[in-house]
C-alpha cells in the first residue's frame, strides 16, 4: 500500500514486498538466528542474506545483537503491531467518512 499517511509503516511494507526478504523475515520471526543459519535454509548467498537483513533492520522489522563472534538477528514484535494498527486506523477513518456522507445525504433528502 502506498498511502500517504504511511510514513511510519511504509518502509516496513516496502521491505516486506520482496519475497526472499519476506522469507528471511519469516525465519527470524520463528526465533533468533545468525546469518549462517538463515542462509543455510535458503538458496541465497550469505552476503545476500546480510543485505536483506540490513533492509529489514533499517525498516525496524529486525534487530541485531552480538553473541560471541556472531550477530544474532531477531524480529521486532512491535513492528507487526504497527502494521496492524495502521490497517485498523485506515478502516476507522474510511467508515467515519462514509458515515458523515450518509448523514449529510440524509439531511439533504
Amino acid at each position: 500500500m502506498t498511502y500517504a499517511n504511511l510514513q511510519s509503516v511504509q518502509p516496513k511494507f516496502t521491505a516486506l514486498a520482496d519475497p526472499t526478504r519476506r522469507t528471511v523475515f519469516e525465519i527470524v520471526a520463528k526465533g533468533p538466528h545468525p546469518v549462517t543459519r538463515i542462509a543455510a535454509q535458503l538458496s541465497v548467498s550469505r552476503p545476500a542474506v546480510s543485505q536483506h537483513l540490513k533492509v529489514l533492520m533499517d525498516a525496524g522489522l529486525v534487530t541485531r545483537r552480538p553473541s560471541g563472534r556472531n550477530n544474532i538477528y531477531q524480529a521486532e514484535p512491535a513492528s507487526i503491531a504497527d502494521l496492524r494498527q495502521y490497517l485498523d486506523t485506515l478502516w476507522s477513518e474510511v467508515l467515519s467518512r462514509f458515515e458523515a456522507e450518509m448523514m449529510k445525504d440524509g439531511k439533504d433528502a
Binding site: 502506498t2 500517504a4 516486506l16 476507522s92
Partner: protein
C-alpha cells in the same frame, strides 16, 4: 492467531442507499487525500470508480490519467454486500480480503460491517504447498507471524 479487522457503523437510511453510496458514489466521500495511491505520490486522484458487479474493479484515476487498481470485486450482491481482493499499490497476487455487508437495522437505519482478513486463507494455502512463501504480503500480517509473537510473549 491474527483476528480479522472488524468495523461496524450504523448509518441512516436503507441498506440499498448505503450500498449505493458506498459503491457507485465512493468518489464523493472516500478520504483520497489520505488513502489513495496518488496521495502516496503527493497528489490527489481525479476520481475513484467502483464497478458494481462481480469481476469488476475498484480503481482510482491518478492525476496523469492512469488507473491504479485497488481491488477486484470477488462477490457482489446489490444492497447486501460485496467482497474485494484488496491490494492498493500492490500486485493482485498480494491481495487480502475486504468484505462489507449492509443489513437493515432499527428505525430505518443500516448496519454496515466491514471485515478485513484473508491472511489466514493465504496462510492455509501456503501450508498446502510446503515451503512456498509466495502467498503474498498478507502472510506477513498473518496468523503465522503473529502466532509466533504471541507465543513468545506468552513465554
Amino acid at each position: 492467531m491474527l483476528d480479522p479487522i472488524c468495523k461496524t457503523v450504523r448509518v441512516p437510511g436503507s441498506p440499498d442507499r448505503a450500498f449505493e453510496i458506498f459503491t457507485r458514489k465512493i468518489a464523493d466521500w472516500w478520504p483520497v487525500e489520505e488513502f489513495s495511491v496518488s496521495a502516496g505520490q503527493s497528489g490527489v486522484p481525479i476520481t475513484v470508480v467502483f464497478e458494481v458487479s462481480t469481476g469488476g474493479r475498484v480503481y482510482e484515476v491518478m492525476p496523469d490519467g492512469t488507473e491504479s487498481t485497488w481491488a477486484e470485486v470477488l462477490e457482489c450482491q446489490t444492497g447486501e454486500g460485496f467482497v474485494l481482493n484488496w491490494h492498493p499499490g500492490r500486485d493482485a497476487s498480494e491481495g487480502t480480503r475486504v468484505s462489507v455487508a449492509f443489513a437493515a437495522s432499527d428505525a430505518g437505519t443500516t448496519e454496515v460491517t466491514l471485515v478485513h482478513d484473508g491472511w489466514q486463507t493465504l496462510g492455509d494455502q501456503a501450508e498446502k504447498v510446503h515451503g512456498n512463501y509466495d502467498g503474498g504480503w498478507a502472510l506477513v500480517l498473518g496468523v503465522h507471524f503473529v502466532g509466533v509473537f504471541e507465543e513468545q510473549a506468552a513465554e
